[in-house]
Amino acid sequence: MEQWLVQSLVLGLKMFLIVNGLLIAAAYLVYFERKISAWIQNRIGPNRVGPLGLFQSFADVFKLYLKEDIIPTLANKGFHAIAPVISIGIAIAVYAVIPFGEYFYLGGEKVYLSIAPHINVGLLFILGMSSVGVYGLTLAGWSSNNKYSLLGGLRSSAQMISYELSMGLSLIGVLMISGSLDLMQIVQSQTGGQWNIFFQPLGFIIFLVSAFAETNRTPFDLPEAEPELVGGYHTEYSGMKFGLFFLAEYVNMVTACAMMVLLFFGGWDVPFLYETLGLEQGSVLRALVQFGVVVGKMIPFLFLFIQTRWSLPRFRYDQLMSLGWKVMLPLALANIAVTGIIMMIFQ
């Protein structure tokens, strides 16, 4: 077969797997969110649909599909329809550059475990895309022509802009150590247990807090603050349009966890694992193990995201802003300066 045909087939298959895998992962995150919240509150949680309630999320999505799609009379119809598409589209687009492992040879063809491997602006692409994601929420709030939605949308844009700064700055330390924006190379620079968490503990904490704010999770879920804003930016959405916002939130959560694993916890690196298992560079099995390691490292962070939601109350808006601008930003800047000085000394 011709080379380009094979390559495009492989690429198409990878895209299919990633998009569907993400949506299923988001569905199961919703299930686990409900289960964990139930356990924390000494309840049992969903257990009726399928064994242990495992098909609950599919029932939920099915219900959302069947529901009537209500568009307010005074809403700006075009933007109202496009806002959820932007939200979920951007959330999934980020996965073009996220690698889940290195590569394997399939019939002499080198297959990478990411859609666009070795793209030299990978990290910038993720940060840029997550900024565009704000448009989804802001447009949703504005086009609904509802004051609560508008407030939610405005809050989300203000919050995401403030925390994007400290998020980006907290990653500069990582960039200085690895010397590359390519996610593959960042992971490779951490091989052998030299994970960035040991060199950048402060950077990691700032990134973690900012990630909570970026994904609109409690304690920073002000855009949808139920008691004061009804539903926030998605008040006027129903049916699957609401479902798309919901899925986007969970996909963003997975993205944040993937970034934490890749940037701070060595990605697929586990010291001595591949040598003891005797897995060759480029074998299919090695790629599978690498994928498993990345996903396995993501699970504790996903759990942390969910558990935090059921443990902490929400911040007040001024507290949120003063934390972002007065604490996170100076700390991130100090982190860069200290990292730079230490690197100068030890070079």
Binding site: I36, W39, I40, N42, R43, I44, W310, S311
Partner: protein, 166 residues
């Protein structure tokens, strides 16, 4: 003036002010909570049996020789939701009156128990039925056949009334 300041600065020490250790403590608490025994009752499988003090669907007491009700109409009169409708008839027995028609509209009933309280014959009492489902509005109007329950099934409530009624 005797005013004490109580600012955040005085209340919290350094570790409490940077939040993170306290957040970790909170997360630890919820984590421990996850493994404690669950309190949920799996309803349709595990049915709850209320005690005698429970006020469920009002019913008429049925004795061996017929209903206790003498159709005085007090329950209908006292009902704040106007849910009860009674029509009286006469017989040759010792109890000269009986209800020809006795209907309770369960869409109106508020389970206050006034009918039971006011009844001079202890003929209408609150039962333990709580899973009431109707498919049509007409089905929710219970007639005499549906309301009459043998006295043996109402022993808990009658016992409760004997003990606590003035």
């Amino acid at each position: 003036m005797n005013i004490e300041k109580n600012t955040e600065k005085q209340r919290l020490n350094f570790w409490e002010k940077i939040y993170l250790p306290e957040i970790a403590r909170g997360l630890g608490m919820t984590f421990v909570e996850m493994f404690k025994p669950k309190v949920t009752r799996q309803y349709p499988e595990e049915v709850w049996n209320p005690t005698g003090s429970y006020r469920g669907r009002p019913v008429l007491v049925l004795e061996e020789d017929g209903e206790r009700c003498v159709a005085c109409g007090l329950c209908s009169r006292v009902c704040p939701a106007l849910a009860i409708e009674v029509a009286a008839g006469e017989t040759e027995k010792t109890k000269e009156r009986y209800p020809i028609k006795f209907e309770i509209n369960m869409l109106r009933c508020i389970y206050c128990g006034f009918c039971e309280e006011v009844c001079p014959e202890e003929a209408i009492v609150m039962s333990k039925d709580y899973d009431l489902v109707f498919e049509k509005q007409e089905d929710a109007i219970l007639d005499k056949d549906q309301l009459l329950i043998p006295m043996a099934q109402l022993q808990d409530r009658l016992e409760f009334l004997r003990q606590y009624r003035r």
